[in-house]
Symmetry: C2
Subunit: 215 residues, 2 copies
DNA sequence: CCTACCGATCGGTAGG
DNA sequence: CCTACCGATCGGTAGG
C-alpha cells in the first residue's frame, strides 16, 4: 500500500477511534463513517484492519525510538553535564522529556501504541514486544548506571523503570492538548518527578531491596 | 441476579479474558468456552455481557475505596506521625500501599477496573467516572496538604496525582503474581518512590509552575 | 469510491 | 444447563 494523503487520514481517524473504543471495539465501518465513505470503500486504500493498526503502531514505535536516540545523544554531549549534575540524572531527564514530547505530540497514535499493540498478531506482535522491551531497557540502563554512580538510591531498576514508564505512558490517557498544561511544562514536571523519585538521601519511607534484579 | 458460586466463576474468567483481549474483544462464547459450557447457557447466570462487566468494575471500585478509607484512618491515628515524619508523607505512603495491595491482590479485576470501565454505558459509566474522580481527589488533597505543610515541593497537585495514579494503575499491566517481586515489597518500593518524588530540596532538574491548578 | 453480496460471528431469546 | 434459532453486524471480496 502506497503512502497517500488519504491513507494518512484513515490512520488519523482510526487512531482516534482505536483510542476511544479499542481496536476490537472499532469496526471498519466506524472508520469509514468518520471519513464519509462506505465501509467497503476503505479497502481501496488499505489491505486490512490489522494493516491499519500495524501502520499506526509501527510509526509510533519509530517516533519513540528516534526521539530517545536524539535525547541520549544530546545528553551525552550536553553542557549540562558540567553543572555538577550527575550524568545519569541528565540522561534520565532527557529520556523522560523525549517520551513526554512524543506522547503529547499525538496522543491518538501514542495511545494506540501503548494500549492496542496487543491486538497485533503473529510476527508483528512479537516484533513490537521486542522493540518495547528494548525501549524499556534504555530506562533500566540509565537507572542502573545512576545507582552505580551513586546519583540514585539503590532502587530495583526493573521496578523503577516500570514505575516511570507506566506513568509516562499514562499521559496518553489523561492529557488534553487544548488543556491548561503545556507539553513542555509537562515534560519539565515529569523530568523533575522522575529524577527526584530516584534521588538518594533522606528517604522518609522505608523500602527494602526486593530481590535479585534482572536487567 | 443472585450471587452464586458459579456467578463468581464467571466473573473471574471474564476478568482474565477482558484483561487480555478487552471487553469488546471478548465474546460471550469465549467466556462460556473457558467454563466448558455453551454460550447460551451463560444466560442462566447473567442477564447480559454488560452486567458482567458492571459487577467486576463495581466490585473493584469498592475495594479501592474501602482500602483507601482504611489507609487514611490508620495514617491519621498512626504513631508514625510522631517520628518527625510529615503527616502528608505518611498519608500518601499509606494511600500508595493500599492501592498497590488491591491491584496485586487481583490484577484481573484491577486491570478491568482500570482499562475497561469505558465500555460501560449510560448512568453506570457516569457513576464510575464520578467515583474514579473522587478517588483521584484523595491523592490531590494529600499532595495539596503536603505542599501547604512544606513537606512536598511546590508541585501541581493535578499533575502529581496523575503521575502517581497512572503509575499505580500501570502495575496491573506488568505485575506477575508468581514473579520475583512480592506485593508488600512492591508497595514499599512504590511508597518510597512516590513520597521521594515529591520531597522538597535539591531538585537537580528545573521545573516551572505549570498554571493555575484546579483541585 | 460505489453497490451488492459473502460466510462467520455477534449478543441474546425460546423452550425445554 | 442444552439445542435450536433470531436479527444484526462483522471483516472482506467482486465487479464495476
Amino acid at each position: 500500500m502506497v503512502e497517500t494523503a488519504r491513507r494518512r487520514e484513515i490512520e488519523d481517524v482510526a487512531s482516534t477511534l482505536f483510542r476511544e473504543h479499542g481496536y476490537a471495539g472499532t469496526s471498519v465501518r466506524d472508520i469509514a463513517r468518520a471519513l464519509d465513505i462506505q465501509g467497503a470503500s476503505l479497502y481501496a486504500h488499505v489491505t486490512s484492519k490489522q494493516d491499519v493498526l500495524w501502520s499506526i503502531v509501527e510509526r509510533a514505535a519509530t517516533r519513540f525510538e528516534t526521539s530517545a536516540d536524539a535525547a541520549s545523544t544530546a545528553a551525552a554531549s550536553g553542557s549540562d553535564a558540567m553543572d555538577g549534575i550527575a550524568p545519569a540524572s541528565v540522561r534520565l531527564a532527557a529520556l523522560v522529556r523525549a517520551h513526554v514530547a512524543v506522547v503529547t505530540d499525538d496522543i491518538g497514535r501514542a495511545s494506540v501504541f501503548v494500549h492496542e499493540w496487543r491486538s497485533l498478531t503473529g510476527e508483528r506482535r512479537a516484533q513490537m514486544a521486542r522493540r518495547r522491551d528494548a525501549y524499556e531497557r534504555r530506562f533500566r540502563s540509565v537507572i542502573d548506571d545512576g545507582v552505580a554512580e551513586g546519583a540514585f538510591v539503590a532502587v530495583d531498576p526493573v521496578v523503577a523503570a516500570a514505575f516511570l514508564l507506566t506513568s509516562l505512558n499514562g499521559i496518553a490517557t489523561w492529557f488534553r492538548p487544548d488543556g491548561r498544561i503545556a507539553p513542555a511544562a509537562l515534560g519539565d514536571a515529569y523530568a523533575r518527578l522522575a529524577v527526584d523519585a530516584l534521588r538518594p538521601g533522606g528517604a522518609v519511607v522505608r523500602a527494602e531491596p526486593i530481590a535479585e534484579p534482572v536487567l
